[in-house]
Symmetry: C2
Subunit: 132 residues, 2 copies
DNA sequence: TTAGATGCAAAGGGTTTGCAACGTC
DNA sequence: GACGTTGCAAACCCTTTGCATCTAA
């Protein structure tokens, strides 16, 4: 995606985007980030937001999540962790569940594939939506 | 997606699409299915393929998979099972691994959310790509 | 007969990109 | 001063849709 750049500059835009992602527990869409950044940099463009999200993802600073179809969501916490997706409101929650590293090895042994990591997501209805 | 239809007709197109999905172990994209169906129904339209994939998915006859960004893939096996995605060739493999149903309950207890199911995907390099 | 399904083509909609100006190192 | 980055807007590309026609039940 961004393989040929010699180095990465830390621009004002990039810094603000990363900062926003680091300080939210929601797993926002690019558009949400765009609206948020505009509060600090009113004339920033959507393209810049997308470019930076991709670069930050390549750098391993953030994590891109693709749930269902439609748009991507971005997670400011690049550590591998599990998620719960509410099928009603669409929100994504972090789960406080230990990541099982053993399972990667088992799959490697069974398949002969090289496993880098795994993604585990739970789908259902969050407590807030259940009450309605 | 297709909530207001009173009943579902089994058209020639639908039958062929489902048949193709049931008889492949690859996890094809809509376009791949389209090309395949054209061999039997030359004048079928891409729109029809998409419509049927969505309907079959709603019916629970197939499973839609969204890995990484870009396009969806479809799995003719609607039973919950795990996948391995090769980051090099992009192929998706079924894993012969028992689905852990206990974990859904544990998450329910810890979060208070209602868990319907979970998705588990492994990412890495498949054996064929490793050899290159 | 009738409501669902199809073909065709245009419209959607999130994401990417070309380009000239700009800003960081 | 170089070269990565930005803003803007057009282009992309997978997917969805409107509509007249067709067809399964």
């Amino acid at each position: 995606m961004n393989g040929k750049k010699g180095f990465i500059r830390m621009t004002k835009q990039r810094k603000v985007i990363l900062d926003i992602l680091r300080n939210t527990k929601s797993h926002p869409t690019a558009d949400w980030v765009y609206e948020k950044v505009k509060q600090k940099i009113p004339n920033i463009s959507l393209g810049t937001v997308y470019r930076n999200l991709n670069i930050l993802n390549d750098m391993g600073e953030i994590m891109e999540l693709n749930y269902g179809s439609a748009y991507s969501r971005f997670d400011g916490n690049p550590e591998n962790h599990y998620h719960f997706v509410c099928e009603n409101c669409g929100r994504v929650f972090d789960l406080d569940e230990q990541v099982n590293k053993e399972i990667d090895k088992r799959i490697e042994e069974k398949t002969g594939f090289s496993v880098k990591y795994h993604r585990l997501e739970f789908y259902g209805i969050c407590s807030e939506c259940r009450e309605e």
